[in-house]
Symmetry: C2
Subunit: 441 residues, 2 copies
């Protein structure tokens, strides 16, 4: 990257040109270690709001405003600025091609767990070299350097590139995974509508950036809250990336639900399978004990206390984060990072026969009668190719239907609140209840 | 464990009896989930100081004071209170025997990274089921519950037991690994002598506890500072465990030294080998660029700037933690945890041909002429059986000899400061300089 200045990719069609431009990075010599970093401190001048006018199912490519002289860059860090040919060396010649993993909120605590898992090879395997592209804010840029230093000092053989930056148009370049963790916390007195708007802005911009510069088959996992609606905003702003590729993380809810059923049934958690979280990552979410199984049997056959299932189980799952904050004084960064790893592994490792996993995905074409054009957590299976299919053989009863309808209604309401960010016109926000999960802010 | 009360193991010879007593744990039923925990809040009444009178090389078994009615216990947590027969199930019958890993300072940030690595199977392998025994203080017991909750919610298949407690005599029971991370930070105005004393007390007690209840071949890695002298105190108080089994962690220093040499030479860090840290984990430590290699060549042949090697390299390694605190605002918990994993792996995986690793170990019988009866970081190789041997083919020059002598003198001075804790009589403390590494407190 050196002293070359980049102009912003003006639209998605400039991707090729942008790529050519960026290729100069590959010749970076090792003598410029650290120095490159300074240049990325310059402010972004790109306008953050775009006019999008489109219908729900035919989203046009966003009209990007050219950056005037934007000089902010994502830059390689320290020892990760080196170039090398993995195919030229005995130890690395059998490795797969380098994979680009972009992470937003990279200076936060969840990332502080996640990045080291990614770099160690625990997630994508021992022959998968990794490039980590870390997105922060101007405020967190120093902290990002600290994270990069700790990654250097960890000597992970598979970690071959680390870049840090504050501009998603640069950090997301050629990303094959985008793990969108960063979001603004709710300020004092802020309503949920305000939170939807402030975070929606971020995810609209990041969607546009992904659309412009990421791999055409990038897998996006949205963790920052409200994650379902953020994922919806993101996919709406990235019309050139399959909507199917966007996920909202409900895996921690699934893991917690399995653990609570195991505790109640007196079995180890590996005996609980087929756990679906339906709907929103909020207090309207539905941990599904009708379809879940314990030792291969329906939960209701194993746990006879159906009153507990109907009246206490869901709350136990949802209060977990709040209880943790009380006890530990911090939010669940470590187990959230584990659940992101689980979500990634579920897409790259074939799902065990007869089982499934939950993830918030786009509802178009779903077989459950859930409203289309939402991001809704549903049961999925994967062949391990990065893709997934919705599970067909699930059953419903009135109780389950009614609760799914409630979380569906909430997501429809959230969608109305962010119409200005999804290209559907003027937002109308009538959300009254606070459905943020305890311990999440 | 249930309602049974334990008396303290009076000496190492009561171990068998103690084991029999503890065996009642194995029949814990799953219905007492969570409830057991409350009982561990009762105070410890055991006296903390022991009179030890012995010479350096003939340490007597410590005279333990029987606990009067001590009711504090380490207790299983939640879903980890279940019993199961791993040999009875298809998925687990080929697994190794459960290994007990005890961790002190378990509610701290280093542990928060380390425990999840241990539980994931990243360290000891995918067929090694693990029991984590977490040692905290009364103050941190709630936080320990939080850690245990996050471990539950992570659904690690290999993690089969989690116990939490505040009494090392219970938490270290049958431990095959003891990772001693917890230590008191230096208070305002506290001299290094004061720190040596306050932490020495902790490690004397933990040594006695290991001696009384841990596996006879437990591997102990001391991380809490001042770690070399803490490790010495610990091994002196555990005469029935081979002194060879005690390590002081200098692996993060080794990793940082490799990274700094790689940066200077413009090579990736995997090209740096044979890196020794000699001596104390303090500013007198000696990162050895005479014996280290880059791409198989002596460092001095690759890095021609010998002035940099002699005058800047060591400081760069040592200042790393301080720089990190400046940038990131926190200490290096993540990379410290990675280095603990590296240290463990170095003992259970054969050392690559021609290479070695650094660890602070007991000096008796060392071939380098270093004073005996210290814990001193030196170059080691392992066959992967948990044991190690000191590397013989290292070279010395005047510069290296002189610096090794300085760190050796420091460790001898530290040892004089803790004579009252190692059974060598009355302490005499004449340490003037503050040699704590930046960013470590």
């Amino acid at each position: 990257m050196g002293v070359a200045e980049l102009s912003s990719p003006a639209t998605a069609s400039t991707k090729t040109a942008s790529r050519l431009h960026y290729s100069s990075q590959l010749s970076l010599s090792s003598t410029r270690l650290y120095n490159n970093l300074r240049r990325s401190l310059r402010p972004i001048s790109r306008a953050r709001h775009f006019n999008i006018s489109c219908s729900v199912n035919q989203v046009q490519a966003p009209v990007a405003v050219p950056r005037e002289e934007s000089k902010s860059k994502s830059d390689c860090y320290g020892v990760f600025c080196l170039t090398y040919d993995l195919k030229a060396e005995d130890e690395t010649k059998s490795w797969k091609k380098l994979v680009n993993v972009a992470v937003s909120g990279a200076a936060g605590m969840i990332s502080n767990h996640l990045l080291f898992k990614l770099a160690s090879g625990e997630v994508l395997g021992p022959d998968q070299p990794i490039a980590l592209k870390l997105l922060g804010s101007e405020r967190s840029l120093q902290a990002l350097e600290g994270v990069a230093m700790e990654l250097e000092d960890s000597l992970f053989p598979l970690l071959r590139e680390v870049k840090i930056g504050i501009d998603p148009y640069e950090v997301f370049e050629d990303a094959e995974w985008a793990l969108l963790i960063g979001a603004k916390p709710r300020g004092p007195g802020m309503e949920r509508a305000g939170l939807l708007d402030i975070n929606g802005q971020i995810f609209a911009e990041q969607g546009k950036a992904l659309n412009a510069v990421a791999s055409r088959n990038v897998k996006v996992i949205v963790v920052g809250n409200p994650c379902n609606t953020n994922a919806l905003i993101c996919l709406k702003n990235a019309p050139n990336i399959p909507a199917k590729n966007f996920h909202a993380l409900t895996r921690l809810d699934e893991n917690r639900a399995k653990c609570q059923l195991a505790l109640k049934a007196g079995v180890f958690y590996d005996k609980v399978s087929n756990m679906t979280i339906w709907g929103n990552h909020s207090t309207t979410q539905v941990p599904d004990f009708l379809n879940a199984r314990i030792n291969g049997l329906p939960v209701k056959e194993v746990i006879k206390d159906h009153k507990w299932l109907e009246e206490e189980f869901t709350e136990k799952v949802q209060k977990r984060g709040g209880v943790l904050i009380q006890k530990w004084g911090r939010s669940s960064a470590a187990s959230t990072a584990v659940s992101i790893v689980d979500a990634m592994k579920s897409l790259v490792i074939p799902t065990p026969e007869g089982d499934w996993f939950s993830t918030g995905v786009y509802t178009n074409g779903n077989p459950y009668g859930i409203a289309e054009d939402l991001v809704f957590s549903m049961p999925c299976r994967s062949k391990g190719d990065g893709d997934y299919e919705l599970v067909k053989d699930v059953i419903f009863d009135d109780y389950l239907r009614k609760r799914i309808a409630k979380t569906e209604a909430e997501l429809l309401a959230e969608k109305r609140c962010v119409a200005h960010l999804t290209g559907e016109g003027i937002a109308y926000c009538d959300i009254k209840e606070d459905t943020m999960l305890p311990g999440e802010m």
